[in-house]
């Protein structure tokens, strides 16, 4: 054992300069990605966001996901979505809230979910009245799949409007230009 120690001491020391280089680069990259936004987007086959040249950063708001198979409000599944075909639009699958879940434009489950979310947000806003940025302004962040028809978007917007939400922000994937 004594022999080995002597040998190690004689050998060259490990050059850690390049490792430091690596760490520096990783650090820069991590810091860059750390400035990401607060909202989480989970793209899947059922939720593909459209591209846009918009450049406004998302703020804090109620998150609503309209995917091809379900609608989520604050990550809770509220109502399912079923595909159908419209004879007016051949070759394109349409999506809608099933007729059993709705009464005209009203979708009760969706409306109650929005109302609960509005109440919660208002509660938080009242607790923190002094801070403008957390006040309840009726803002919703929509993450909507790019293939769903406008009728579905309108249904969701209508029910959100009924529950005092008025400012809608559509989450999109930022493209250059």
């Amino acid at each position: 054992m004594a022999k080995k120690k002597k040998r190690l001491a004689a050998s060259e020391e490990l050059n850690i300069t390049s490792m430091m280089d690596m760490m520096t680069i990783i650090l820069v990259f991590l810091l860059k990605s750390f400035s990401a936004t607060e909202i989480t987007v989970n793209p899947s086959d059922n939720l593909k966001l459209p591209n846009s040249n918009a450049d406004k950063d998302p703020g804090v708001a109620i998150n609503v996901v309209v995917a091809k198979n379900e609608i989520l409000v604050d990550n809770k599944r509220i109502v399912g979505i079923e595909p159908y075909t419209d004879p007016d639009v051949p070759g394109q699958t349409m999506y809608k809230i099933s007729d059993g879940d709705r009464k005209g434009n009203d979708v009760q489950a969706l409306y109650s979910a929005f109302e609960t979310a509005a109440k919660n947000a208002e509660g938080v806003a009242n607790l923190a009245k002094k801070r403008d940025d957390v006040g309840f302004k009726g803002k919703i962040l929509f993450q909507i799949d790019k293939d769903v028809p406008f009728s579905l978007v309108r249904d969701v917007m209508y029910n959100a409007g009924q529950a005092k939400f008025a400012e809608f922000e559509f989450v999109v994937i930022k493209t250059e230009g």
Partner: protein
Amino acid sequence: MSDREMPKEEPLDLVPIMNLVTILIPVLLMAIKSVEVAVIDTTLPAIGAPSEATEDMPDKPPLQLKVAITNSGIRILGANEYLYPEGRAVVEGAQAPPDVPCKSNARCKGVEDYDWADLSKKLVNIKKGAQADDRDSDAVVLMPESNIQYEVLVRTMDITRKTDGEDGMRLFPVVSIAGGSK
């Protein structure tokens, strides 16, 4: 693993591997870089911001631009004097064709079939005309048909907001979405 053999081994030179890793890690991090998201602001027309008072210029009501997105193309409403300064040919008994027809001249078959370049050109004309007439407005109301894909709606909002390019011209960034027809 006898002690006698060990001393003969050269120390492992890690530097080339470290260099490789140094290159690899940024490349991998670039590849898995998460998507960058942004948001588009809209309001409901009914409860959106009221339009500016027009009392001081009664002759020149501000532009009230509406863009209807249909399956056969895009109609621009409320700005005919800029779109067709010489008047528009009206065919009796027939519905006027859309102001921006689809490239395939029939039912639009997807996002790329809409003539976005033409729409952008016409909106720039309208904006310039309205600015010259001192009745400029930032607002536009979008009226999509029920079966229009959401992607088309987003693209229309992109086009109506600003022109392409680094210093894109600001067009109509205040977007409202109207219910549209069933």
